[in-house]
């Protein structure tokens, strides 16, 4: 049984739904979560759709932890955590979240071609906030990109967001971080540690 009293979560199976845009490190983050689940002794499933992601499309990954996990896919309305590496993608998949599930979003926008070509409008922060509030009051916005820029490498923004998730779950940095460290180049372990810590602190 997973229990996060502060977040109002009590479940047999914990569902993480990750979304982002190709190139943001969404897949790396979901690999970390999946391995973490295994390390913590759970049955784990991680499902993702490759394909068009490199060409600017959305990237989706489902990660589930539990004593026994069957479906690889999280049904609509059943994600405990919606972890969005980009705001519009977070908004697009809001219906994945349970009522009062956790919406954790990187406060960052990547403008799709439909918007840059002037054929559509990127939703305003206010619109996004209003939409998310209709579904959940557990909203967490972290400016991962700026934190990563401050640290000197925009690529670690995904690790900042993972740090924020670790903070939300009140988990041990020392359990999480070695898995991240094993997945990044040796020379960038330190900056990733800083990024992760900044994420934890942002909550």
């Amino acid at each position: 049984m997973f229990s996060f009293p502060k977040l109002g979560i009590k479940r047999d199976v914990l569902n993480f739904f990750l979304v982002g845009v190709g190139g943001q490190g969404t897949i790396l983050a979901s690999n970390v979560l999946a391995e973490l689940g295994l390390k913590l002794g759970y049955d784990v499933k991680k499902a993702e759709i490759h394909g068009m992601s490199q060409r600017g499309g959305s990237v989706i990954s489902h990660v589930r932890w539990g004593e026994q996990v069957f479906s690889p896919i999280i049904a609509k309305g059943e994600a405990d955590f919606l972890i969005a590496f980009e705001k519009l993608e977070g908004l697009r998949f809001l219906d994945q979240i349970r009522p009062d599930g956790v919406f954790l979003v990187n406060d960052y926008q990547i403008v799709p071609v439909t918007v840059s070509s002037g054929n559509a409008i990127y939703p305003s922060d206010q619109d996004i906030r209003e939409s998310t509030h209709e579904i959940t009051s557990n909203n967490y916005w972290v400016d991962c990109r700026s934190i990563a820029e401050e640290l000197g490498n925009v690529k670690v923004a995904n690790v900042v967001l993972l740090g924020a998730l670790c903070g939300l779950m009140e988990a041990e940095l020392e359990t999480w971080f070695p898995i991240i460290a094993s997945k990044v180049p040796q020379k960038s372990v330190e900056i990733n540690r800083l990024a992760f810590q900044r994420g934890v602190d942002a909550i």
Partner: protein, 609 residues
Amino acid sequence: MRRLLSGNEAVARGAWEAGCSVASGYPGTPSTEIMETFALYPNVYAEWAPNEKVGLDAAIGAAYAGKRSLCTMKHVGLNVAADAFFYVAMTGIEAGLVIVSADDPSMHSSQNEQDNRQFAKFARIPCLDPADSQEARDFTIAAYDLSEQFDTPVLLRMTTRVCHTSTAVEVFEQQATVPDQKKYPRNPLKYVMIPANARRRHPVIEARIADISEFAETFIHNRVEYRGKDLGIITGGVAYQYAREVFPDASILKLGMVYPLPKKMITEFAKNVKNLIVLEELDPFIEDQVRAMGVKLYQPAGKAEQSYPLTKSIFPIFGELNPAIVRQFANEAGLYAAEIDFETAPISLELPARPPSLCPGCPHRSSFYVLSKLKIPVNGDIGCYTLGVAPPLSAIDTCGCMGASIGVAHGAAIAGDPERHVAVVGDSTFFHSGIPALINVAYNQSNVITIIMDNRVTGMTGHQENPGTGKTLQNEATISLDIEQLVKACGIEKVLTVEAFEVDLIEKTLRTWMKEEGPAVMITREPCALLPEQRKRYIPLEVTDQCNGCTVCFRIGCPAISKSEILDPKYNRPLAIINASLCTGCEICAQVCPRDAILFKSQVLAKSN
């Protein structure tokens, strides 16, 4: 040891553990990583073949030569390989042969949604359908044993969800001992399929499938899980997971082998449960067979019985299943009573789509820009360049399957279509199945202009090597096929290789060729912008104050250029802006800009110095 493996990695692992030592295949989502992973194991030979048919012949040849072998492809690849698939079903093999077909329900990255379990039935060979990575590994190993026990190739049918889901797998750290080299068979009665021999083989394979059906009764990967007796579910593949998720109390007959079926096991199960349903993705493949056994399936009260030709009951015949869909359709059939809230709160905002598009710096863009200007019919093919269909380029009129472009353009020409047709095809696709079609154009002298977009790699599926790249799958140096020479050898006299970013030259050449009779081929050559070597060369371009918002550069459809918030004072139009974190410096925009308002790389560098 327990490891997290994707279904694809698990198949590769299982093949290696089973002592498979030869593998050939062609990339295709969602199958590609099987071969990429297998190639890294010790003591194995693995290759990319130019197409699936060639790959399957190679794997068959290795299995005839006494080596356990593997052939991998996506579902549509099996259409290409079907000829080989059918003869090897007839001849059987000397050592185990496993053919992997990765199906793509919901068409996440495919042109159709065919259910390749049908191929096993069609050719009379067994089909295994794993539900997770552990099974993907275990079934692969079982498939080799089955293959040798019954002298048959085995179809391992995967689906996107199983291929690309990672689950924990118990693996063995050792490869099974590989059998000793056997003398190559001299057995024409079995291996030379002249009509006289083939006629003798046909009854053999019909008897074989009956024997395997008998074997299926005790096959360890077919199992019954009795729980409550009110509802019994026959299922296989990933649908098993949804059955367990949605109906925790139901009894389940889990079929690891979905063809041929164990008749006694099924009839016995049917007797022991009150309501019996089949839960499977795509075709009513198990369902039709179960009905053919005379077994009665649950009939929802007040609903007309499913009837020919639409025999699938309860669950949808298209698209991937998921727990929500299973609940919804079970509910409509009176099988799922719990309250479900189908109204997931709709988002009231209209959200901008994020369609995939040609990347910034993509060498395919220039040709499509020219083609969209020329407004001539373009017969497309399958690869990254299919994205030339997207606005604003909107430059592709047809696209069916790999290799179709040249043939379909030829068809228009021989039908006397008054417009000049252009076929566009990528390098890997040209090698795959474009060559015979181009020979047809040359042989029958049709007015087709073909553009071979040579980005020096198999791009769409994630940068695989191919006969043009000079490297093999296992990273050995090899020949790099000269496309221009090859095109000439096909009988095409008018051939020109251009650098893909030379917009004017491409336009001038096409305009000239359109006025002339006869076949012509243009090869646009430039490595994919995402290749590591190319990434090092990115130099973002800049827009100068000469821009007056004329919009020409927006017509190339580059994600790196967009309308800024600044308006031109005279025309009140938004000025162009280049996103430096996306721009590679391909200079297509700089070339098309009528006011020279975008700096070329050399100008950017000169300015910063």
